[in-house]
């Protein structure tokens, strides 16, 4: 089981709820993924509108836990206020903390991220920081009170997959007891499988499922990939070798000459 701030979660796949062709497809994708956690956001409501009510009713009907985000925030002040509004609205102290530092790459502003994480932890939040794969930033986030780390493996929505497996391996090696979730950059089930094989605890996806030709089928494919990668890691994989090793026993081979 995945342990996040003391909560036991059966699935190691977290799913975003944006960009699906329809609410019905979103609901089916969530079910097909088997996820126990979906990410949600807060946005301005229009006068007379009830757009949020419909979406929220749908999410509540799915029986999953929600992880609100601070997507789009560029400053500590914005992120902290958004987190407080999320807690009031969704009635959870979980927050996926995003503080964006670059408009083009959507790379987190890691300095502001650490500061916001410290403030929110002191305010009683359980912070899930969207961060880079930088080891020292990870240390600072843990010192700030985070008990989970969510490094990207490539820019959000890029579908590039893990561009720096060394950095991800390094994080796993340095923080063997900290839940590590790859958040952002996954494009294919094989990407998810590969980061799970590195020993990551879970994967958070959105675009790769929502923008697939068949989001429901892709959600199921990712569920299998995440599970396969995790089981492979647990089973301790063979390391690559620079020479051939016959798998069939040589001793006892018939001699026909």
């Amino acid at each position: 089981m995945l342990d996040l701030y003391g909560e036991q979660i059966a699935s190691r796949l977290l799913l975003g709820t944006a960009q699906y062709p329809s609410p019905a497809v979103l609901a089916e994708a969530v079910k097909a993924s088997g996820t126990g956690i979906v990410t949600v956001s807060l946005r301005r409501e229009t006068a007379g509108g009830k757009s949020g009510d419909g979406f929220w009713s749908l999410i509540q009907s799915l029986g999953v836990r929600v992880l609100p985000n601070t997507a789009g925030c560029h400053t500590v002040k914005e992120a902290v206020l958004t987190a407080h509004m999320a807690r009031d609205l969704f009635r959870t102290d979980w927050i996926k903390l995003e503080v964006i530092g670059n408009h083009d790459s959507l790379q987190p502003d890691v300095f502001a991220l650490v500061e916001a994480a410290r403030i929110l932890t002191q305010d009683g939040f359980k912070v899930f920081p969207y961060t880079t794969d930088d080891l020292v930033v990870a240390e600072r986030l843990l010192e700030a009170g985070c008990e989970v780390l969510m490094p990207w493996c490539a820019p959000i929505g890029s579908a590039m997959g893990p561009v720096n497996p060394y950095a991800l391996r390094s994080l796993r090696g340095h923080f063997p007891a900290v839940p590590l979730i790859v958040d952002a950059g996954i494009g294919r089930p094989s990407h998810a499988c590969s980061v799970m094989e590195l020993g990551f605890d879970a994967v958070l996806l959105n675009t790769a499922v929502a923008k697939a030709g068949d989001p429901v089928e892709m959600a199921a494919a990712f569920a299998e990939a995440v599970n396969a990668g995790h089981r492979g890691y647990r089973a301790q994989m063979l390391e690559p070798r620079d020479f051939a090793v016959p798998s069939t026993p040589v001793i006892g081979k018939a001699v026909f000459s």
């Binding site: 975003g16 709820t17 944006a18 960009q19 699906y20 979103l26 990410t39 949600v40 956001s41 807060l42 946005r43 301005r44 409501e45 229009t46 006068a47 007379g48 509108g49 009830k50 757009s51 949020g52 009510d53 979406f55 929220w56 999410i59 609100p68 985000n69 997507a71 002040k77 206020l81 407080h84 509004m85 999320a86 009031d88 609205l89 969704f90 959000i156 959105n206 675009t207």
Partner: protein, 65 residues
Amino acid sequence: MRLIINGEPREVTAQGLGEVLAELEFTGDWLATAVNSQLVPAAERAGFVLSDGDRVEILTPKQGG
């Protein structure tokens, strides 16, 4: 009284935040509010008195990644 509601200027007659939401027909059940960049929890909206020029943010659950 003139308020800035989600970035747009609006004239209202009500004084309390809860009443202003009703007057402007923010009728959804799931809303989060902030005034001048400070959270006003749902439980405190009814008794929260607004002032001319206040900036009110009204947010609701949306899809997110």
